[in-house]
């Protein structure tokens, strides 16, 4: 019995270095991306994450065009493209009447078209697949260091700007009346979104990296009424999804990225149903009420 469990759960990680790297990389990613996802969701920008993931493509493609399938140039390219789109869309919404959803849509669509154009100029479809879907099982030391750095920057920034970020989500007009931090905090936050998506795209690809950001956050929303526990829970759900996804990928030989995201998807659906603020609980509890 113990042997079977060991074989199922521990052995793949204990015996294979590539699995250890994959685990380390994806756990680190969860640590940074999941809290960022919670704030994206609470700011009603859940789909912006998806838009940003598309927006990264031309940068990554440019890196790929000039340097081939190398991690650093592609990452830096993605970072630049993402930041241009985030700042552009953010600035348009801050300084004009257009809302962020519209400006973000406009910017990312333009960016995506440029990206597809660049990949098609000199790429085979196999390369495109790699950029779009990543490979968590091929993370090298360079990539792990990069992800580690991104996580560190994310957690430190969140710790410093936590109060401003919460105030900016909860009551932006109030924050503007007591402090000038409103706009800077918004842009710092968009920067963190880009950073974490770029960090995720080696492992999960540009399209799926947003999944590790949003799904645990969306699931955590069904369990708690406060931001701090929500972030912690999202990270834990992220961890669980990574472990489950990698094991699935190993045992059933599924592609690792989708396996991780789908594991998070399972947690999401379970949370909708069984969460303390989920469907079933609301149905059962609300048939009874207190006297006051």
């Amino acid at each position: 019995m113990m042997d079977t469990l060991y074989g199922l759960l521990i052995a793949p990680f204990a015996e294979f270095a590539f699995m250890q790297r994959a685990l380390a990389g994806s756990l680190m990613l969860s640590l940074g991306a999941c809290p960022v996802g919670v704030f994206l969701m609470l700011r009603r920008m859940s789909l912006s994450g998806d838009a940003m993931a598309h927006a990264i493509l031309p940068g990554a493609a440019a890196g790929f065009l000039f340097y081939g399938l190398e991690i650093l140039p592609m990452t830096i390219g993605g970072l630049i493209a993402g930041i241009i789109v985030a700042l552009g869309a953010g600035a348009v919404s801050r300084f004009t009447i257009q809302r962020e959803d519209a400006s973000m849509a406009a910017f990312y669509l333009i960016s995506l078209a440029i990206g597809v154009l660049m990949v098609s100029i000199r790429g085979s479809s196999v390369d495109l697949m790699h950029v779009l879907f990543g490979t968590v099982l091929a993370l090298n030391n360079e990539a792990l260091t990069l992800i580690g750095g991104i996580v560190l920057v994310t957690l430190v920034s969140l710790a410093i700007f936590w109060r401003a970020l919460v105030a900016e989500c909860l009551d932006p007009l109030f924050l503007r009346s007591v402090s000038r931090l409103g706009s800077p905090v918004h842009f710092i936050f968009l920067g963190l979104v880009v950073l974490n998506l770029v960090g995720g795209f080696q492992a999960l690809g540009t399209l799926l990296s947003v999944g590790l950001m949003m799904l645990p956050a969306a699931a955590a929303r069904f369990w708690t009424m406060r931001v701090e526990p929500m972030c912690v829970l999202a990270v834990l759900i992220g961890f669980a999804s990574c472990v489950a996804g990698l094991l699935l990928s190993y045992h059933v030989s599924l592609p690792s990225g989708p396996a991780i995201i789908l594991s998070a998807g399972v947690v999401y659906f379970a949370s909708i149903l069984f969460g303390t603020r989920g469907i079933l609980r609301a149905r059962i509890i609300h048939h009874r009420h207190r006297t006051a």
Binding site: F161, L170, D171, F174, S177, S179, R221, M225, R226, M230
Partner: protein
Amino acid sequence: MTKTCLTFRDLTLGYNSHPAIHHLDGTIRRGSLTAVVGANGSGKSTLMKGIVGVLKPMAGTVVRAPGVRAAYLPQQSELDRSFPARVVDLVSLGLWPRRGLLGRYTREDRDSVSQALMAVGLGGFEKRPIDTLSGGQLQRTLFARVLLQDADLILLDEPFNAVDTKTVGDLIALIKRWHGEERTILVVVHDLELVRQNFPETLLLARQPIAWGETRETLRPENLLRARRFHEAWEENAPWCEPDKHGDHGHGPGHDPGHNHAHDHHHGSGPRAA
């Protein structure tokens, strides 16, 4: 210590180059309690936004006396009620002027949050999620936050909306307490009876100040009539207001209070029909 808290110099505030407050001059005395009265669209909220600095003037300036900290309760809050926060989290935002971005909340701070809630009649509401509050309870929560901000200048934009009579009484008592503490207070109010009973000074706005000074004088029927007759709509083709055509606009308590302040010269402003 200077006696002036706020100085308006030829202040014009508005949107899309249409003025909502037009060439306002005058001063707000330190420690004064002023009601801001006027019809819809007369520029009351705009003036508040201009004072707190979330709306930049199109012309002229608002000068705050050095060191004056403002607390602002907007009419239309941008508060996100679906945000997972408790009453105590919302009220604690009022500690910002004291603790800023990184300062730790002390036990004292937490006590003062509870006291502020107690003062607005919401003792024991600390742990309540904000999306379970009624409209009036939320308004009182925001009052508690203003209380916590401990500001020298307090701007309340229609604070009595959706608030029941008893609570209005409580909130008025709170405002009077602030007044007693020599804080400067501006309140946008619609209920003229409430103004007559509780506010020593009144600014009557109709995009321009109609009257400004002692409440009984300001709210005389002829002033109110004139305030009602202003033209609420913008005129798309109103000519541009030339800066050199208006000279002295002395307004404010102490300067001829209660007197007719309507400008009789037409400097192409269009929006006024008086």
